[in-house]
Symmetry: C2
Subunit: 467 residues, 2 copies
């Protein structure tokens, strides 16, 4: 179908009120935020009034998944609507891109920014990119070369010191606020603003840039991707929020993140474009639980966290907001970040290329009609290896391994089996009683493997690293 | 102060609109409901729209505690505003009253019903009593002899078969719906209605009786205590709810409990007395986690469940609702069921006796002014023994033991210490770093012990039991 015809049909299907223009899209992406870390997801002492209000006015998803267990592959999946192994953005050993990495998201991939740009959207990224470390001799890794018109932020995580200085030995020391360890470089486009930016100001500055971007583009459809730097450690909050939360610095940082979300929604309301804007809030993966009591997040009732394929590693908060279009409610539809590209593509009247398979599905029925999604198997990868798979309410673990730092994978001859609707905490393996279900999931996984070839990994490090 | 003068002062302090009459009080008490089992406390697949709305319109407490880890002592504390050891309603071995028990709440205790009755309230209990097994030769154990004008329900838990028939061996079999095992006797006052009631109809019938009680007493101040039979196992739901929840029978039962709460609030609104009524919803203790995946509840992010002094055993949902008086919000004030008696006593212009100490505190500032409570140490008892204590955000464990069935207590020479505001999951013992805090809590506990004598236990079984 031709884009113009598709645009017309989409406009018709959106109804008279929204037909006037294509909707803006804002994706707010927290870093290492756990399933249990927001007030509206049940945390006892973290206060997130703005996100709670967003959830009360919008749709709160209780079974929403990031498409990977760590940062880089998760972001690749969000941007492409495809499993990270398809773009080579996963690796068993290296896990994520680091400052010394030379690879990045291949130019052959179509990003969400490129897709929306093709439909006339103005596109901006404010925050952490982490899909390639840009350098003068690697221009292809810059977000401006992946469909974004505007860029402000860090190239990678805030703990990736590109210098040779010795790193702190203990995980807990990651919160030490010594700028000697944490020289994160801040860019505006290709311009290096500050080689060692003051991280206490980052959330505030991202927010100011976001409001400015919204203001400058309020008259046309825009796409704003806002991948926050926090609550990834080391944790920094500005003066206004520091020391205020009973939850400690993690709670301070979340209070500031929550404030930021409130400012973005307020900017939309103040400019009377809230009714024309889909805002989606989620996280790139589960919480870094082994960071310690004060600096690690919480997966709530879910098992384990970041880096693992237990639910805590990949099930994250997911809140969709669009006044007048999304009815307030709670949904247990199974959705993933990979669904966002097909979903916004249709809203934006973008015809996706047919030369590649998409793993995400258009989730319009979930967001706008309160339905669940008929979906094939959802696969949980750790690096490049498929560890587990969910089919309906059932999840089978073929291999298990604890969070990020655990060196020992355990292969299960008889896969572990959990009914996630009944037992979201994965406490009761009932594989023995349901060999038929395991058979069904195993067959679905084999079919998935057959249609999901792995590209050579972009994450292999070729530069010697001082540790 | 004389009751009449106190009533006048209370009326004045309540302001002009509420001064017209003393407020009704309804306490809805779930059985074995866990901290993580409601939608508004973060459960992914259990839907509780009525309780969620009640929470959104009222005050949702995130640090609310039952005053005991199991059923009988918890109810004694609620009814008396005092630690269960004071009334002899705790025991290390027997834990709760059973069908063969001959003891009960001593007549010397002043119950919430008696307190409110003294101020002209009409009082009713609909549901499970469990503070004494009434018999013709033990008239003192009947709720009608503890201040209640009206009674409809069971004398004890729904799994306490007083017959000699063999019990199911496996815990999971507790959900078997064989009436041969589960002959729960239903009473209206002293009249035995059905020796083996149909438990699938219990929640529905409790609800009908509650609406009728409200209707009959709408013109005067009333106190309705509604201790539900579920989600204590065995689990039964009526046809309308059975088989509907993705969470299984536990979810069905909670959906019906949630419906019941909705009916009660609707009855108040329909009769225009919602503005004159404080409704408080909570649970008697944490979830029976070792019951298995489908029939055991969830403590959410909290550790362990029913029977233990880890947070999961005693921290429970707590929702206060009073349109026009309680402002919508979330509070992390530390409160316990023992606070409810002093709180409603003041609202009802009741002067509590001065011949006994109360452990609960008037929590009006929490409910009506959005403040926290300056409180002394809160102690976690397992049976008659003090296992742990909370002072501010700090909790020290002197003895730990897993849930209900775990036979081995572990005494800690250096108490375990957790900061619950930072680490609600009690995952990071930081006692080593804070000897000063342990010292402070230990001193507070010694002071508590000195002012908290233990009465002889009422729970000792003197009748031979067939197991």
């Amino acid at each position: 179908m031709r884009p113009l015809l598709l645009a017309l049909l989409t406009a018709l299907s959106l109804g008279a009120s929204a037909a006037a223009r294509l909707p803006n899209v804002i994706i707010i992406f927290a870093d290492d935020l756990g399933y249990g870390d927001l007030g509206c997801y049940g945390h006892p002492t973290i206060r997130t009034p703005n996100l709670d209000r967003m959830a009360a006015e919008g749709l709160r998803l209780t079974q929403f998944y990031s498409a990977a267990e760590v940062c880089t592959p998760s972001r690749a999946a969000l941007m492409t609507g495809r499993y990270p192994v398809r773009s080579g953005m996963a690796h068993n050993q290296f896990r994520v891109l680091r400052a010394v990495s030379t690879g990045g998201l291949p130019q052959s991939e179509l990003t969400m920014a490129e897709a929306l740009k093709s439909s006339g959207y103005r596109t901006g990224i404010i925050g952490k990119w982490h899909l390639g470390v840009w350098a003068n001799d690697r221009p292809e890794h810059h977000p401006l070369n992946h469909g974004f018109d505007f860029h402000f932020g860090l190239m990678h995580s805030n703990d990736m010191n590109p210098s040779d200085k010795p790193k702190p030995k203990k995980a807990n020391a990651l919160v030490e606020q010594d700028p000697e360890w944490w020289n994160a470089a801040l860019y505006r486009g290709r311009e290096l603003l500050e080689p060692r930016t003051d991280q206490t100001q980052l959330t505030k500055r991202y927010t100011e840039e976001a409001v400015k971007f919204i203001d400058e583009n309020k008259a046309r459809p825009f796409f704003l991707y806002m991948p926050h730097t926090f609550p990834h450690t080391p944790l920094f909050a500005s003066e206004r929020f520091k020391g205020r939360s009973p939850r400690g610095i993690y709670g301070d940082v979340l209070a500031e993140l929550d404030w930021s979300v409130g400012e973005v929604l307020k900017a939309l309301k103040d400019r009377s474009i809230a009714d024309d804007t889909l805002v989606f809030f989620t996280s790139d993966n589960g919480p870094w639980t082994w960071m310690g009591a004060e600096t690690g997040g919480s997966a709530g009732l879910l098992r384990d966290g970041k880096g693992s394929t237990w639910e805590g590693g990949m099930r994250v908060p997911g809140i969709a907001w669009w006044p007048g279009r999304i009815k307030p409610g709670v949904s247990d539809a199974v959705m993933t970040t990979m669904d966002l590209l097909p979903t916004v593509a249709r809203l934006a009247a973008v015809e996706l290329p047919t030369d590649r398979p998409y793993d995400g599905q258009d989730a319009a029925t979930v967001l706008f009609e309160g339905k669940t999604l008929e979906r094939e198997v959802f696969c949980y990868y750790r690096g490049e290896d498929l560890f587990a798979a969910r089919l309906g309410d059932w999840k089978a673990h073929f291999i298990t391994q604890g969070s990020y730092g655990d060196p020992k994978p355990v292969k299960h001859e008889r896969p572990l089996l959990f009914n996630l609707a009944v037992d979201p905490s994965e406490a009761h393996d009932i594989g023995e009683q349901h060999p038929d279900v395991i058979k069904r999931i195993t067959a679905a996984v084999e079919a998935h493997r057959a249609r999901t070839p792995k590209a050579p990994s972009q994450l292999i490090e070729t530069v010697p690293v001082s540790k």
